[in-house]
């Protein structure tokens, strides 16, 4: 039984509609509005053309990290990845355009090239039940790893060393290079984008936070999909490759695991793909606990970074930066606190609040575990906005390094565009607190208002839903207050 068949079979025949459902949000199809955009996305060369420039930049960055100056803020590897790319990713791409980064990401390029043996064209043929010819071993990814736990642990591990990672160009290059290599090797052995779906450490938070995004790719009319015999979107055809992300868009309800590769836009014979603009935080369903834990990990990391990177305490910085300070004992204390808060303490506190929620709702038929899982959704708007608030200072304080590093990418004293001597200059630093306050309050607002949808799904009546929401709103408020203390207290 192939995963593709699983997904098609699981397609529900009767849709259960809840009174207050997230699908009642207004949506506008960009592809209908803009025939030009549609033509661009339908072009076979589209993805290659958008990846290509990134691949070149990526190449320069890896080289710069390896041979350029070890001083982070003078090396393009650090400045472009950890200031420019990070800010664009978390503050613009994820909230407004879902996983658009995955559309242009160069990491899976060589792996996919190997599997397809084609840059632009499509191969028809047969690979298990797909109608595309694909190269490589095409093994099936083990079921017990078909979740985001590898990404959770991988991301947490990487982030434990972040003080080193974001300040040492060499380390950044090695990590990026390793990811590129891993992406390629996995693609040779396993089928399609298993690296993206299950391994890539960036993927985990992209999937979680893209739920909040104001953009989505969906089938325009699910009934058309039900009647559709071709199923080119998931099985491939002469116009497009089968979905490399194992998604069946015919019943896809969430952004999480759609990498916006746009293959289905090309392969759907019924012209049934829509690229919708929608309100922020429109999808509110967490499917499994690995996703919940991604939320906790991200929240704990945002807090840890606020203390280590934006905080003032030198001892903590020395602990996190043990490879230079030599304080490995401190490093283990810091790592221990980080891991236990991400995996035990914060989820534990949340579990207590979930229990309170159950008690206050007065509904007995729902388990605390279900409540815990369902409400962990509020960590999406809460965490995403906290991350954006955290990232604003990175960009506004250190963004001027982008200008100088462009002229001297390796830190070798070049002056390509005459801007190499541009001095470090924080941009409006004294107003960042206001921005952060607003961002945090927006996150809190979405956590509470969307939390109500979750609560209603769990408890089924308005009264119980409101009562059950109160403790969760309290949790969200506490988290928001903690960030306020870090940022402006």
């Amino acid at each position: 039984m192939y995963i593709y068949d699983d997904k098609i079979e699981k397609q529900p025949s009767v849709e259960i509609k809840l009174p207050e459902q997230e699908h009642s949000f207004n949506k506008h199809d960009l592809l209908k509005k803009s025939p030009l955009l549609k033509r661009i996305l339908k072009a076979r060369s589209f993805q290659f053309l958008v990846i290509l420039p990134n691949l070149l930049v990526f190449y320069v960055i890896i080289i710069a990290g390896l041979i350029g100056t070890p001083v982070g803020n003078r090396n393009i590897a650090i400045v472009f990845i950890w200031i420019l790319w990070w800010f664009l990713l978390i503050a613009i791409m994820v909230p407004f355009a879902s996983r658009i980064w995955c559309t242009v990401c160069p990491l899976p390029f060589f792996g996919e090239l190997f599997q397809r043996m084609a840059l632009i064209m499509v191969r028809i043929g047969k690979t298990f039940n797909l109608r595309n010819k694909m190269f490589g071993f095409n093994l099936k990814w083990p079921k017990f790893l078909s979740n985001i736990w590898i990404q959770n642990i991988g991301f947490l591990t990487l982030c434990t060393f972040s003080a080193v990672l974001v300040t040492r160009p060499f380390v950044t290059s090695v990590v990026l290079g390793t990811m590129l290599l891993l992406g390629t090797l996995l693609a040779i052995v396993w089928r399609q984008r298993v690296f993206c779906s299950y391994v890539c450490p960036v993927s985990g938070f992209l999937s979680l936070y893209s739920m909040a995004s104001t953009m989505e790719l969906r089938s325009g009319d699910k009934d058309v999909c039900k009647k559709c015999k071709d199923k080119g979107c998931i099985r491939g055809n002469e116009d497009g490759w089968a979905c490399p992300w194992f998604e069946y868009i015919g019943n896809m309800e969430r952004n999480n695991y759609c990498g916006l590769c746009m293959e289905c836009v090309k392969s759907c014979k019924n012209d049934n793909i829509a690229l919708n603009v929608r309100p922020f935080a429109s999808e509110t369903k967490i499917k499994s606990l690995d996703e919940s834990f991604k939320g906790f990990i991200m929240l704990a990391l945002a807090m840890a970074y606020s203390v280590i990177l934006l905080g003032t305490n030198g001892t903590v910085k020395d602990w996190a930066n043990a490879s230079e300070s030599g304080l490995w004992g401190g490093f283990f204390i810091y790592a221990g606190i980080l891991w236990s808060s991400a995996l035990i303490i914060v989820p534990g506190v949340f579990y207590l609040f979930s229990y309170l929620s159950k008690r206050m709702s007065g509904v007995d038929s729902v388990t605390v575990r279900e409540i815990f899982k369902g409400f962990s959704y509020i960590l999406v708007p809460l965490g995403l906005l906290a991350w954006i608030a955290f990232s604003f200072p990175l960009m506004f304080i250190n963004g001027s390094y982008i200008i100088s590093v462009i002229s001297d990418p390796l830190g070798w004293g070049w002056n390509l565009f005459g801007t190499a001597d541009f001095k470090w200059q924080p941009l409006l630093p004294e107003y960042l607190g206001y921005v952060q306050l607003i961002l945090l309050v927006v996150g809190l607002g979405y956590a509470i208002s969307r939390g109500y949808f979750v609560s209603f799904r769990l408890y089924k009546t308005d009264k119980a839903a409101l009562m059950g929401l109160i403790p969760m709103a309290g949790f969200a408020l506490l988290v928001t207050m903690a960030f306020l203390i870090f940022f402006i207290g």
Binding site: N313, N321, N398, P426, L444, M481
Partner: protein
Amino acid sequence: MKSKYIVLPLLITIFGSVVGFVSGGGSSKPIRRDIVVKARQYSYEPDRFEVNHGDTLHIRLVSLDVMHGFYLEGYDLDAEIPANLKTFKIRHPSEGFNWKDTSEIVIIANKRGKFRYRCSHTCGTMHPFMQGEMLVNPNILFNAGLGATVGFALGMLGMIYFRTKKSRT
């Protein structure tokens, strides 16, 4: 139906911010404060100090290892602190790179809130994250912000209560 109840969180948010603003404490008599800030890789000592609005601050800067900077946001001040010297250079960023030698900075804390001082001279790996905080009390943004946040959360719950109450009847 939606728009009507949005007024509620708005009102309570404003109420909360006013409460926070007012309860933040009145002004105390301005005094002179002498502060020595020692810079080292990658932090300052003290890493945070509190003063009151109107105080006159006499700040001396020393570096314990390599050359560091001291860019105080909100007060148009930047300094370059050579290692192990009593004097250092300061400039006002709004006037460009017009450095002057000095042994003491004198500023009047006439802006309220939290102001960070950051290293402005590349001093090593963690340099971009080297910073400290000067708190000029009362911290209006924080007090009002905290009040507003609590008010907002209550207001949101109130809004949901009224909205669903209407849909029930």
